[in-house]
């Protein structure tokens, strides 16, 4: 029973992190109709900047720097590529983001090489005890931090003029533009926000119990893709639900893998993808996505 509770809390914590990544992904999709396959490399940019700068600026300074760097890279991608490719087919723009991803990931993995970089977080490997249940402090920090960020984001999405503009663009870009909303600025903002969220997620993907930032971090970040699509690509609620489903699946399957030995080693890492396939079989548009319908 304690094990189950521990696994669920851990799953919720990593789920919240996946939700954070997926949220950025969904925001980009809503604002620009672009599926951003470079999202994992944005995360790597943030994580890398934090890793190299925490010695000089302290952890929190480094976090600010990392978030700013990832947001800047996101904005540069939007300004340099996406804005110029707006008229093209969705799949073609998606492939362009794959090209960006190839370049960014190659550069970062070259810089990281075979090292494992520490992010210098203040939580270390401390554990918190609730009765018999033991949870790493980093997981609790992740849960709190992600919940706060997601709440702030959703409130901003709902109440600020930036959020209203973004939702208007998602609803009907052309009309929004006619109403005086500057599409370029909205999509630039979306990319920057998504980059920033990914950088924060990078912290929690690489702290204890994970050894640190290495070249496989981007593979871990890829799990946010199933999170985004099984919730529905155009739904922020879906991103949250999807993130939690992915986190819980991963945590439970990893925790009970000795009981699931017939599925093979490392099933926890691939289980989220299997869940995604099952959910897509049941609902092709994802759990909360709008079903495609068109008036002819």
């Amino acid at each position: 029973m304690t094990k189950l509770i521990e696994l669920i809390v851990n799953g919720l914590a990593s789920g919240a992190i996946y939700a954070l990544i997926a949220l950025g992904f969904v925001v980009i999709f809503k604002a620009t109709e672009v599926v951003n396959f470079a999202h994992a490399s944005l995360l790597l940019v943030g994580g890398y900047v934090i890793a190299i700068s925490h010695d000089r600026f302290g952890f929190w300074g480094a976090v600010l720097l990392g978030v700013a760097a990832a947001a800047l890279v996101g904005a540069i991608i939007e300004f340099g590529v996406i804005r110029r490719a707006r008229a093209l087919d969705q799949a073609v723009v998606a492939i362009a983001t794959i090209g960006i991803d190839i370049v960014l990931t190659s550069e970062l993995t070259r810089r990281i090489g075979s090292q494992t970089l520490a992010l210098g977080d203040p939580w270390g490997d401390r554990l918190v005890h609730f009765g018999a249940v033991t949870i790493p402090l980093t997981r609790i920090a992740a849960l709190i931090c992600a919940s706060v960020l997601i709440t702030v984001f959703l409130l901003a999405f709902k109440y600020t003029s930036w959020g209203v503009a973004m939702r208007a663009v998602a609803e009907d870009g052309e009309t929004a533009a006619l109403m005086g909303i500057r599409l370029g600025r909205v999509s630039l903002g979306a990319w920057a926000v998504a980059g920033g969220l990914a950088a924060v997620a990078a912290i929690f993907l690489t702290v204890f119990p994970t050894p640190g930032l290495d070249r496989t971090t981007s593979v871990a970040a890829l799990k946010a893709f199933p999170a985004a699509i099984l919730g529905g690509l155009d739904s922020t609620t879906g991103a949250l639900a999807g993130g939690l489903i992915v986190g819980l699946t991963e945590s439970l399957m990893t925790g009970y893998q000795s009981e699931l030995a017939f599925l093979g080693r490392g099933i926890g890492d691939v289980a989220p993808y299997a869940v995604m396939v099952l959910i897509l079989l049941w609902r092709p548009a994802g759990l909360f996505g709008t079903r495609e319908s068109a008036r002819v």
Binding site: D89, A91, V92, A96, S106, M276, A294
Partner: protein, 374 residues
């Protein structure tokens, strides 16, 4: 009104001389490719073999992504099925590994069929999801596929992989064991496989061109350009999407068989997401939606790292592999083709193939039609 009358009054236009159009360029390229083994060394033959295998796979992906607009990140999975399927069907059983020991040609056909079946099993998703959504869903294939490759050790050999049985055709083995000298050139495995690859590629390209130019090809393009309009005109969208997915996975399987034959060993690490991304890069660089574009792109993406490795001494910035330099050839190649993908999407949406078309019209201006004297 008067215009139509005028047209009717004119006599039927008969072209003065009807040119018989031989597909000159493909035939010429084919002939050049036929004589390459007499001049190139083993390194380039091996590279060329990989390029041909990649071209077959890229043609398949171009049918799916280029012609139909359905993104797939799972192409490497189908290559894996082809490669491992061939090994499983052709290899003999041993104490640790199982195999069926079928004749290699049968094994090849079965491996391709197996890839098709795998694609068919995915059809509830590939038929219903559109474009980029399918792209993310197919990520699942990569990760689940690799999981199986690592764990089903009896069939796949696990981390270490399996060695690939030599291809044989009616008793003629495609390796260096039977000495064969053609016009004074000793023919080893690479030379023989080169011709096998060439034939497979030619057939694959011919078939894909046929598909694209005929009714199904038009339907696929219609789905890409306007799905709803295509549906309204009577194209069964879901069925076509599922079918082209199956076809593309069979091409992937065939490419997998060729890759396995060229490598002579299959390892699970190779069939990862990077490979899928490479294939997407190929079709964008070469040109979306055509077989020629896929071949051109496959050539570029496969040759680039090899060329950089071979000539790394004389290139600035690029350090020879293993020298601990800052930029290894393989990473430099990834930079180049990653950037090429972005650049081509932005500035040359038709890919390198359209560049060729542009140059050709510049050199040989299209003859203008004679003005009708009205």
């Amino acid at each position: 009104m008067s215009d139509t009358l005028q047209v009717q009054d004119q006599p039927a236009v008969i072209p003065a001389r009807r040119r018989i159009r031989l597909p000159l360029a493909p035939v010429l390229v084919f002939l050049i490719l036929m004589i390459i083994p007499f001049y190139a060394d083993g390194f380039w033959l091996q590279t060329g073999l990989f390029a041909m295998a990649a071209a077959v796979g890229a043609i398949g992906l171009n049918l799916l992504t280029g012609a139909t607009g359905q993104l797939s990140m799972g192409h490497a999975f189908f290559l894996a099925i082809g490669a491992y399927g061939y090994v499983y069907f052709a290899a003999d059983s041993s104490s640790t590994l199982s195999g069926l020991g079928l004749p290699p040609l049968v094994a090849m056909v079965l491996a391709v069929a197996l890839s098709g079946v795998a694609g068919l099993l995915f059809s509830p998703i590939s038929g219903r999801l559109s474009g980029v959504n399918l792209g993310i869903a197919t990520l699942a294939l990569i990760f689940l596929g690799q999981h199986v490759l690592f764990n089903a050790e009896e069939i796949t050999g696990g981390v270490n992989g399996r060695s690939v049985p030599v291809f044989e055709l009616f008793g003629f083995a495609f390796d260096g064991t039977t000495p064969l000298t053609v016009l004074g050139i000793p023919f080893g495995g690479a030379e023989k496989l080169w011709y096998l690859g060439l034939v497979v590629l030619a057939v694959a390209a011919y078939f894909a061109t046929g598909v694209l130019r005929s009714r199904p090809g038009r339907a696929l393009n219609a789905i890409r350009d306007h799905r709803i309009a295509a549906g309204v005109m009577g194209v069964p969208v879901a069925r076509y999407r599922a079918s082209v997915f199956v076809l593309s996975s069979m091409y992937g399987g065939l490419a997998g068989v060729l890759v396995a034959l060229a490598f002579q060993r299959t390892v699970p690490d190779y069939f990862g997401i990077v490979l899928s991304l490479e294939y997407l890069a190929m079709i964008v660089i070469g040109g979306l939606g055509t077989a020629q574009g896929a071949i051109l792109g496959a050539l570029m993406v496969t040759l680039l790292p090899q060329v950089l490795t071979r000539y790394s001494d004389s290139l600035p910035f690029v350090a020879p592999p293993g020298s601990g330099g800052t930029l290894s050839p393989s990473i430099a190649a990834r930079f180049l083709y990653g950037a090429a993908v972005v650049g081509i999407v932005l500035f040359l949406p038709g890919g390198l193939l359209s560049l060729w078309a542009r140059i050709r019209t510049r050199i040989i201006p299209i003859p203008r039609k004679k003005e009708s004297n009205s």
